[in-house]
Point group: C2
Chain length 340, copies 2
DNA sequence: TTGTAGGCGTTATCAT
DNA sequence: ATGATAACGCCTACAA
């Protein structure tokens, strides 16, 4: 007998099956102390663990949370995943990690699969896509979960009415731009994430706002787009240097971009922060160990993921939509210099 | 009716429940074409998906694979996770990602939890710990799964008899050391991973072998240990520079260490590869976009994770232990120079 | 305080 | 080729 069931425990303890159930599930139903002890001993002796599938079958949903990421090998999502998996573990449950490879269709497919697994909640790690067909599909998934009493929580804007745990991305873009301006920079370029992702768009919007507010936007803002990767940042700056190399500062949509920017600048014989100042949004774990310690706006990714799990686990008691905005904090390091 | 069950489909199609089951599970049991069509239509009309919990309950294991990592925010594990999750998805199943935070006790706890979830297989992402209590616990977990017809596959040595998909770590250490020697280096330091992890130990052993074979080991090898992170690499080199700064080359146990080494060297006014050559093992996605493109031995992490999933999915037909060694390949980039 | 009965959704076995 | 029945392990009434 390799699989120990509740029945085996009951037999061993000399009690009925429901009694065992009451003990192990900490039911409010009263159980005498002597009985409880007998059960607990039997559980220990047999090393019994309830079958999650059987529990899930009865309760119509499974005690599993799912995280949808675009690329789990990207530390951005890695940090989120750490927050999700570790917090889920605190609740004694496990978490799926789904990887879309930045393909919207995969994301929709994952939703179908997750629905089939009856997960307790879904966390959307990536920013929403502006693509209409995607939004429509996503919206109906959210609705399906809502009806069932479960939750889909987004860690970045989706352009949809749902539960959110995130930062103010526009304010973030504004903040780093203002910082460079305060340091005396006027020619400031921006390397953004993808044009079809809300997060990137909002951060970029913040940059535009800040530039405009300081009269630095004469319709000739230097903006390049990337795919949020080192490679993307590298290539974007390369392109930028070709057409408009006169910037003294660069705002990056995220830390990955900044790392690529470092490399591209170095290849052009430009030093950071000597010739060019670089600032970004993220503060990934290695930002302070980058070749030039990176000045960046800290996004509490771990906490975002962690909080999302808590919302899902508390969804039984709280039916209201969450809309939690986490604070960011500027980490001043060595990649920005003051301009005279 | 928010949850559509097989019964609903049967009613809609005007057939019995088992018939529906036969159609959707591609059973070998014969079903007439007309009946099949009716069922398929009903399935489509109701958007029916079988309940995984119910399936798992009947089959005694769940169609889920689990990956145990030490730190999912580390791209090393991220690449593995990508291979695992994406390949699992090809099989139409989902994968748990478990994060131990490098705490052996957590790992054992996860095994208990995974057993409870009746997962189809477990993939061990990290190298085995030399700790005896840990090995004993792990060994009994492996046995438990084996008895049940399921598999635990390791992506790195564990010092235990089990299924393996990995690289030859000793050969890897030898390879990078030999490369530096061929380039004329004789004073070569080594920054290793943790002393209690088999993977790190084997790579280090390879370094020792290579040095000895070339008569470069006079009992004064420069070796420092780290925790496999940027920070660890940074701190290890700092320490090394204090006591024995005369090296011209550094072998790093992995890419993360190398990144920290870059930074520490730069702080000391040392250039790469001008003053010091750096080589490592890994070839993480960003290695070629590092500040100095990193010369490193490629470890096919994605493929490792992917292959492990395939072994687990094929475990029904193949009961024999796997012992697959993947090939590595040196990526020559800019961090190593030839010494005259 | 304890036990009995029923059902969650699926599939395997046996009959038709 | 199709259907009735039972069983997987658990929990929630309800009964004693």
């Amino acid at each position: 007998m390799i699989r120990v069931s509740i029945e085996d425990v009951a037999a061993k303890a000399g009690v009925s099956v429901p009694t065992v159930s009451r003990v192990i599930s900490h039911s409010s139903h009263p159980v005498s102390d002597t009985t409880r002890q007998k059960v607990l001993q039997a559980v220990a002796a047999l090393d019994y663990r309830p079958d999650i599938s059987a529990q899930g079958l009865r309760s119509s949903f499974t005690n599993i949370v799912a995280l949808i990421t675009r690329d789990i090998s990207d530390p951005y999502f890695g940090e989120i995943a750490r927050g999700v998996t570790e917090t889920a573990n605190k609740y004694g449950i496990l978490s799926f990690v789904c990887n879309t490879g930045r393909n919207p269709e995969n994301e929709i497919e994952y939703h179908e699969l997750l629905w089939q697994y009856r997960v307790k909640g879904i966390i959307l790690g990536g920013g929403g896509l502006t693509l209409d067909s995607y939004k429509k599909e996503l919206s109906s998934q959210v609705e399906r979960y809502r009806k069932n009493g479960n939750k889909v929580v987004a860690l970045a804007p989706q352009g949809l009415d749902m539960d959110y745990v995130m930062i103010d991305n526009r304010a973030a873009g504004e903040c780093i731009t203002n910082y460079l301006i305060q340091k005396g920079h006027e020619k400031i370029a921006y390397i953004s994430g993808p044009q079809n992702v809300y997060t990137a768009l909002e951060r970029l919007e913040g940059y535009r706002l800040a530039m405009g507010r300081h009269g630095l936007d004469n319709g000739d803002l230097m903006i390049a787009y990337s795919d949020n990767s080192w490679k993307g940042g590298y290539e974007a700056v390369k392109a930028l240097l070709e057409c408009s190399p006169e910037f003294t500062g660069i705002c990056c949509g995220n830390d990955n971009i900044a790392m690529g920017v470092f490399r591209a600048l170095k290849e052009h014989g430009l030093t950071v922060p000597g010739n060019v100042s670089v600032i970004s949004i993220g503060d990934l774990p290695n930002a302070s160990y980058a070749d030039t310690p990176l000045t960046t706006l800290r996004v509490p990714l771990y906490e975002l993921g962690s909080k999302a799990v808590e919302i899902i686990m508390g969804s039984d008691t709280n039916k209201y939509n969450a809309n939690i905005i986490f604070r960011t904090a500027l980490r001043e390091r060595d990649s920005v210099s003051r301009l005279k």
